[in-house]
Amino acid sequence: MAKKKVPEINGSSMADIAFIALIFFLMVTTMDKEEGIARQLPPIPPEDQKVENQEVNRRNIIQVKINANDRLLAGSQPMDVSQLKDKIKEFMTNPYDDPSLPEKEVKDVKGIGPVPVSKGVISLQNDRGTTYQAYITVQNELVKAINELRDDFSMKTFGKKYSKLTEEQQESVREAVPQRISEAEPKDVRKK
């Protein structure tokens, strides 16, 4: 029996259909990646709370201020953004146990053992006129300083970079090198 020939489907319009689908996707989608610096805001304190326990030892706080002209003040000296990272690292590690830098508390960190943990807190203040770029740049430097400290620490204890550690190890490192950045209540620093 002779085979009956099935007529071939004309595929020449397939390209057009595919093009239309492609153009549709080009129109309705975006390519921008969702990236940024994640932060946790402090909760609003209840109104009846007394402000007595907010007294932290002065040596444990570093004030980072940005004014309306995007000038930076860290500790008590004006500086450039490029110097901020080293300043923060020195502040957080306090290598020579300087009495003006934050005290350390020996904490038993799970999986590592007793580690001296700095009590340092970075307090960030900005003016209403500060540009967002300057603010993010400073935030970025702070995160970078902490990240480098964590890398150093995990290199010393585990011999690996922080990002290569397991979840539990990362948690221990986070406990040993805490990231305490407090964004102060907004103040109007403008001169009236």
Binding site: M14, Q40, T130
Partner: protein
């Protein structure tokens, strides 16, 4: 040989386009994988600041977006050229009246399943030239509605001074 010559008749042979759909489909697949659906139309111009230590958003479905920037050209007549806050598809009428943020956050929170609500993250996408005053106001309002997990939208790049 004689047969070939007869068929050609001196004309150029037609290009074979049968693989064209495949090529286009591959491009289509690429776009489908690499892009995400546009949720809102941004009416304010946002160029996010540059930063080097950026983290990726872990759960896209838990993110809410607040855009802050100058209105784009066609909305400038209505809203002026000052920085404005955009929630969903609308630009806020008044920068000093931030109660709409509260409603917005409440509405967005409703959309997320109950178990995931504590992990809701507000993504602040602000233009790099925005003044911090307006962002501080937004942050204070977010604290008041206890949406405490936030992310400052930024793009990868060398940090400028």
């Amino acid at each position: 040989m004689a047969k070939f010559i007869k068929e050609n008749k001196g004309e150029l042979p037609q290009m074979n386009t049968s693989s064209l759909p495949d090529i286009v489909f591959i491009i289509l697949m690429f776009f489908m994988v690499c892009t995400s659906m546009r949720q809102t139309e941004t009416k304010v111009r946002v160029r996010t600041p540059q930063a080097s230590e950026i983290a990726k958003l872990d759960r896209k479905d838990l993110a809410t977006y607040i855009y802050i920037g100058t209105p784009s050209q066609q909305y400038q007549k209505e809203y002026g050229t000052d920085s404005r806050i955009q929630l969903n598809d609308v630009i806020c009428k008044d920068n000093n009246d931030l109660s709409s943020i509260r409603d917005f956050i409440a509405a967005e929170r409703e959309k997320i399943s109950e178990a995931d609500r504590p992990f809701m993250q507000v993504n602040i996408k602000a233009d790099q030239d925005t003044r911090m005053g307006i962002i501080t106001d937004v942050k204070q309002e977010l604290r008041r509605c206890s949406a405490l997990k936030i992310m400052y939208g930024a793009r990868k790049g060398g940090v400028q001074k």
